[in-house]
Symmetry: C2
Subunit: 460 residues, 2 copies
């Protein structure tokens, strides 16, 4: 009889636990982290036969990246703004848009806002500026990603070009202001990354900086790694560790990037003639500018410690510069940031070990330009110079081989994104929940339903 009583009490405890205990989602986004980038980093970091932390995850599928024009027609290559909007809101939008609808500027509720309204804690961690497209799409609403602060909302300057402004979003016009102002006014519990310059600027209609508005909204604002540990636990935390994108961990030897092969004079006359000088092989080396930065792992662990609670939380962690370094044709930079992502994932998985109702997801927002090509051409037997029409880096790998990374999507200062479905990884909480294929917007409902413990929505 006593045993039966114990059994019933035990059953009740188990049931109440499974119904009421808080659930957490840690979403890790590798910006531009397609399978090519993963393969390049794997070869360099752990060797061709090695496995990254990513590779050990028990669930692996793919997400279809979906983008439309303002008129709703399909577009086959995304940017981080529209793809992060897909993940954050479940809606498909156009390039450049931050959680707003194509054509109509409707604000799309984000998973962060929806969960906050239900009392869940939320956090955003990124190695980019926290105002950059990926983190911004989880907390802000604006029709142009470059309207990051009260100045650039009037049109950001990029070299010779003034990018589109966001007049209807200014406070003067009754809008919520720029992205940094929207973050300062937000209820996100932890925001960590770069982007101090977007906050150390006078807010619209105010004598105060955007950072000061954040303080008045309850944020403890820090700008150095040393201040991470001492931040008061009872306030929201805004950490801004660099003026814009945080410096990356690795760089090419002597800060070299991919370079154009140099055909001889004769080869320029006719492709069957002459010879070509390929870029000199190089190692990757530590980037000196990284040394004062908190690592992505450190920021992730800080966020996890602050978000840990009984009801559950949502944390988005972005390794931003896999993409940014690929735009700039810097393979070592991308490799180091993919290593940072794997280390942050180690921390997320360790947290999930201790807190089993934690779904850890890793995905990318879109594919990128970097291509691994043969260090020795498949056609090297032919008596003519064979070489990339773009830029190429030849990396000496720790396992003693040459890894050739080709960048050749355009002739501009920055490479293009590319189009391909991207990987979706999950820890064992994803088994039976994360299908082998889904669309990027379907990640939104999958994460929300997991946290609020709703029946999964039908995948549309």
């Amino acid at each position: 009889m006593k045993n039966l009583l114990f059994a019933i009490v035990g059953l009740l405890l188990v049931c109440s636990h499974s119904v009421l205990a808080g659930r957490n989602v840690i979403l890790i986004i590798g910006d531009g982290m397609d399978d090519k980038q993963i393969s390049i980093a794997r070869n360099y970091l752990v060797g061709a036969r090695g496995k990254l932390t990513l590779d050990h995850m028990p669930v692996r599928g793919v997400a279809q990246v979906l983008t439309v024009t303002e008129q709703g027609q399909p577009v086959y290559v995304a940017d981080s703004a529209n793809s992060a909007t897909s993940i954050a809101t479940g809606e498909i939008t156009s390039r450049g848009r931050i959680a707003t609808s194509p054509g109509s500027d409707k604000s799309l509720p984000t998973i962060v806002e929806i969960l906050e309204a239900q009392g869940y804690k939320t956090g955003l961690v990124a190695t980019s500026s926290v105002t950059d497209a990926t983190p911004a799409s989880f907390v802000a609403h604006i029709n142009m990603r470059y309207c990051e602060n009260p100045e650039t909302i009037h049109g950001a300057k990029m070299g010779p070009v003034t990018l589109p402004d966001c007049p209807s979003y200014t406070k003067a016009n009754g809008g919520p202001g720029s992205i940094s102002e929207q973050i300062a006014a937000s209820e996100v519990d932890v925001v960590l990354g770069g982007g101090a310059k977007h906050f150390n600027i006078t807010a619209e209609n105010s004598e105060h900086s955007v950072a000061e508005l954040a303080r008045r909204n309850g944020y403890h604002v820090i700008e150095s790694r040393e201040d991470l540990a001492s931040a008061p636990a009872d306030k929201k935390l805004l950490g801004l560790f660099s003026p814009s994108t945080m410096p990356v961990r690795l760089q090419g030897e002597g800060a070299r990037e991919a370079e154009a092969p140099k055909p001889s004079w004769a080869n320029q006359l006719h492709p069957y003639l002459g010879s070509v000088k390929q870029p000199v092989p190089m190692n990757c080396e530590p980037n000196p500018a990284f040394k004062d930065m908190p690592s992505l792992k450190q920021m992730t662990e800080t966020a996890l410690a602050r978000l840990h609670n009984d009801q559950g939380f949502f944390l988005m962690v972005e390794s931003a510069s896999i993409d940014k370094q690929s735009h700039e044709r810097k393979p070592c930079g991308s490799i180091g940031e993919l290593a940072q992502l794997n280390e942050a994932l180690d921390s997320a998985l360790a947290y999930a070990e201790d807190n089993p109702e934690t779904l850890v997801l890793v995905t990318a927002d879109h594919a990128q330009a970097a291509q691994m090509i043969p260090a020795e051409s498949l056609f090297s037997k032919f008596p003519i110079p064979v070489y990339s029409p773009g830029k190429i880096a030849l990396l000496r790998t720790p396992e003693g081989a040459l890894l050739a990374v080709n960048y050749a999507t355009n002739n501009f200062a920055y490479e293009e994104h590319t189009g391909a479905n991207v990987a979706v990884f999950a820890n064992r909480e994803g088994i039976g929940r994360v299908p082998t294929m889904l669309t990027q917007p379907e990640l939104f409902a999958l994460m929300r339903d997991y946290i609020v413990q709703a029946e999964p929505s039908n995948m549309h």
Copy 2:
């Protein structure tokens, strides 16, 4: 008592069935079918939000592609010879090798040979020449893929180049002869594809053609689609439907391929000046040369009908020209061949529905050059011409958008392969058997163990 007896008999029947019934593997290889190629084909064939047959498969993982030099050092980009050797034999080898070991020319036993020796039926279907690297690696052993026939074994000519010969493999030197001669002497039950020219040639040390040697070895040899249906069931079948690679299903409008953007004179003086003329957009259209060819689906169904037996079989089906058309910068060609693969997969899945102990696997051997880039550059706001340094095709898709495919791995007549892990799909027989990640050589033991109903080998 009678009921108990029935139950016991029933149980015995079930047990004997599960132990003794034959198991089949249908391995479908998309040559060069990386996730970019799949995404390009998906967009064109079923739209950005559509799903291919591939996408519906319940198991999806990736395979690490592994290649070494003759000395055993890692190489990061494979060719079809070494990667097919990985899949067929479980061993890692160097580029160009057909089921032989790097450095030492040791013949590596293939899954086809191992299963044949145990009495299983086997088949090889390809849209390439049946002597090409992928099918050859399952049945032949030679140190250079281009030694396809008794002439090219002395050094194949490719334009201005004589490729390496295979002197130690000639019959005069006690070897097994060229690839076509090895196929003619083989015990593979069904061999279907292109490559008649490699058989309609006098065999070494013989008055007869290689095809005649095949006949004397029990093959019924056919060279047209019409003869498929009437082939006698009691003989081995060798179908050779074109002189070399079979013509592909789709081509660009007017047989156009990707073309170089044409910068204006001023732009050639300075990248900030002038303008650029992009290639005119095009549709894909049927390739007239395809009309007399059996489809990959038809060849697959023929092979399945002939291989169907109580003990079990192994069938390899290759859609070869996803790769070959990508080498030639012909995106419509690759798309059509990926459609052919999906249709052959439909047939394989239908067979597996009727014959549940059939493992259907789909994978690729290596990644390829084709990249989807934005049809409108991410940097189109900048007042300078932005364009690919390579070749580009702008496809009009049936859903009314423009899909831009970029080829820019080299300046040669044929693009390079690229390096990335490739997808592995399986039907429900793969659940619990096909991990989310494995190395390409591990596919060999996985397939063999499934068919012979052994305990799975440890994945090394």
